[in-house]
Symmetry: C3
Subunit: 160 residues, 3 copies
Amino acid sequence: MTAAVLTVSDSCSRGLREDLSGPAIAQLLEQRGFQVVRREIVADERTSIENKLVTFTSIARLVVTTGGTGITRRDVTPEATVSVCDRLLEGVAERIREAGQQQTPFSILSRAVCGTRGESLVLNLPGSPRGAVDSLQSVIDVLPHALELLCGNTAHESLP
Amino acid sequence: MTAAVLTVSDSCSRGLREDLSGPAIAQLLEQRGFQVVRREIVADERTSIENKLVTFTSIARLVVTTGGTGITRRDVTPEATVSVCDRLLEGVAERIREAGQQQTPFSILSRAVCGTRGESLVLNLPGSPRGAVDSLQSVIDVLPHALELLCGNTAHESLP
Amino acid sequence: MTAAVLTVSDSCSRGLREDLSGPAIAQLLEQRGFQVVRREIVADERTSIENKLVTFTSIARLVVTTGGTGITRRDVTPEATVSVCDRLLEGVAERIREAGQQQTPFSILSRAVCGTRGESLVLNLPGSPRGAVDSLQSVIDVLPHALELLCGNTAHESLP
């Protein structure tokens, strides 16, 4: 199972701040059996994010983003994700928000989405290292099965 | 209260597998006072499903589908449902996903929707007999009231 | 923090029924430090609601509506809100539906949404006084922070 991690952050992309979330996500993915084949940082620019997502989904089955999911003017990761995805999985984003409420009531402000692009899955996570890792933990158990379904390795009739 | 049940399944439509979910749903509906006026099986083809939904909503107030709500390429029941509905009831689909988590974490992968078409309600359920029945059970108590609201039998001001 | 309250109701707008929800919401907002700068009643007409929302978001940071979120033919507040908002905050509407389930299973029929328009937040609440107040209570703690984020008073990096 290949994975790629995209950190979306103006300050990290300019080298003004260290990217702690990207490495933390990559580490968790590796622990869970994913092979992280690419990790990059991009500014909060919709077109740049879209281009990275298109590239990343061509080289990895799971693409995880961190950052840009809030409600300030610069937050455009969900818009970029929606525009490159074929279908959205509302239940995955919903589960992450629900899990986030254990940590902070502000998780309801997250606009993070999850969607499919061909046989790949794109998953938005929040920008903070702890928020990103906790969010990923809350859904990571379903990701391998989701990826199997997406590439047709599981018979149609066994779907949830 | 009239109801119709549509089983969406390639294998059932070809007679390769017995449809257990359609009868199980119909039985539960009858127990709850619905009169099941039509029950059919259709392949996982978007146009075929849309046509059936248009016909069924013209003869029944509640139209329940089972199957085709997952994330494989052949799953197109939600797309067909969205395209024939006037309005979506996100809270109903959300409640079903939440109830499904009691059974399996994979319920967050369901893309099932619920919507209105004129004075009828269309409700997607998963394909497995148990998943379909459990999902219907989790929202069946609100359906009669919803149908009354849709045909204007309840004063506007008493809405939730 | 400025706020405005819009009661959406055919009968209240015609003077056939007293508007109890608008004043109740305004009182709760004042208690929580908001300055309620406008309060009006409008009929369940989509264009009228849209026009009020455009005006209200130009004079207040938080615009709260009550009524018109159900599923009868006359309920069009969510459609009007979606059409004037830049972005939707699904998690806020979801939290309100979840809190509503403590009171009534029918809360899943609510189509209420929450969205941003420029630096303002628009929040739909149900029409009944108790439903409106309970719903507002369930999310009011996150609203000040949301409004700070919207006008850029909080650094981007501290987002959820």
